[in-house]
Amino acid sequence: MDNSVLFKNVIYKYQMNTPFQHTALNNINLKIKAGSFVSIVGKTGSGKSTLVKHINALLKPNSGTINVGNFTINSKTNNKNLKKLRRKVGMVFQFPEQQLFANTVKEDIAFGPLNFGYEENKIPNIVEHVSKIVGIDKDLLNKSPFELSGGQQRRVAIADVLATNPEILILDEPTAGLDPEGKKFIMNLINDLNKNQDITIILVSHQMDDVAKYSDEVIVMQDGNLVKQCYPDELFANTNLLKKYDLQMPVSVKINLMLNERGFKLNDLHLDEDDLINAIINKLKEC
């Protein structure tokens, strides 16, 4: 079944009809293909988080519709009957370790599946499976989640969401506040889920290196407007666009530019560091 996400003329205003009214999403139209890795970038307050909260109906649009697979969300969507949608769309919030609450890691991971009505005898398998995916040791499963380190808590929180077996996974700054190693682990994990398990990834991020390296498509938000949806190389090859949207330049693009300035011209723009290294080696061999 097709699980693409489709926004049609979506408008969302915070605090409607008060003096504090504020347009967070201004007539958004977009399509996210099933199985793709899409990044949403933009300044703080540009509407990224508000946008993704519409995908599992945590927020409902003031007008317009959102289609997720065969679900339709509009301003009149009832708060009941959303379980199927929310099982399909997993959501990892910023600092997701804040959501941990259970006595043991095991119980915390089992919480989602139990809510969504998974059979109880299947739960131990699910817990074991997802804890392996996120790299949580078996002997941690019986510990309290509050005894773990920050990085481990983050992994448990991601396991919490993966446990419900989502087909679309939304991550809001999943690597914020982690050490470089932890960041790398999480990004590889997300990429692996996308490439090998065919989960649609929607990543909200300020880390342009990750965005450039992993995503199939980039959506740029600015003041509640969707200002660009394109391939990453199209966005990152154009320094004027980056400046216009106030986005940082990925390191790989910076290196490309610096090489260019010194007359060392590569044929293509390489956004992945390994590709870039190989291209430089090949070019050097040619010389």
């Binding site: 599992n56 009941k80 919030f93 804040q98 609450f101």
Partner: protein, 266 residues
Amino acid sequence: MPMDNFIFGRYLPMDSIIHKMNPAAKIFLCFYFVILVFFANSLLSYSAMCLFVIVLIFLSKSPIKMFFKGIMPLIWIILFTIAIQILFSSGGEMIYKIGIINITTFGIKNAIFLFMRFILIISLSTILTITTDPLEISSGISILLRPLKKLKFPVETFSLMISIALRFVPTLTDETKTIMDAQRSRGVDFGSGGLVKRVKSFIPLLIPLFVSAFKHADNLSIAMESRGYRINNRRTHYNNYGWSNFDTLSLFLAVFISMIIFILRK
């Protein structure tokens, strides 16, 4: 970041003479007038009080809608009290009687006064919260409590406590929302199902909230100590609220209004 609603979010930053008043004077007068409402006991004195509150609302430039919003959460308590007054009070002329239910003129009159009393008190406190920033309220309270220092009451600590509590209301509201959203995404249905299920659904909300509140408290205490905070030292404040002629005038006005109420009451 926009916040949909916070408890003291009724504050409307505007430019009226009431907004500009000294917060201590405002809080004092608000309490004073609330007490004064209880002294009104006749149609005339209630009318005078109403007229005065309407003038205040007008002066505060606040939208009438905000006052209805203040009354709505209490509407059932108000209606319940009025119903009891109407149905069960005795005295005055009997209008209708069935079993233990007595409807008397006295009961109806009392019910009307009670209703007015509710509306007046809610309106007065709404005027205070609409026109006064939460931080102003806390510093106003600390100014009013200052005389208690003579009785060894820890006024500075107490007022800091209030301002910290107020300061964290929006923060914790935001966190509550985020955690609720996160747990909703994991399939929690807040506010549906039987009573036991409903109460149970709040555990995944309350535990993370407590954990984070303790973390905030811990971090804040370290931050305060590292900046040299000592308990019960006299502190200076970033905002100093001056005393204007209007504040003096408003105190005289309060005396004048009380005189009118006492003349008009029976």
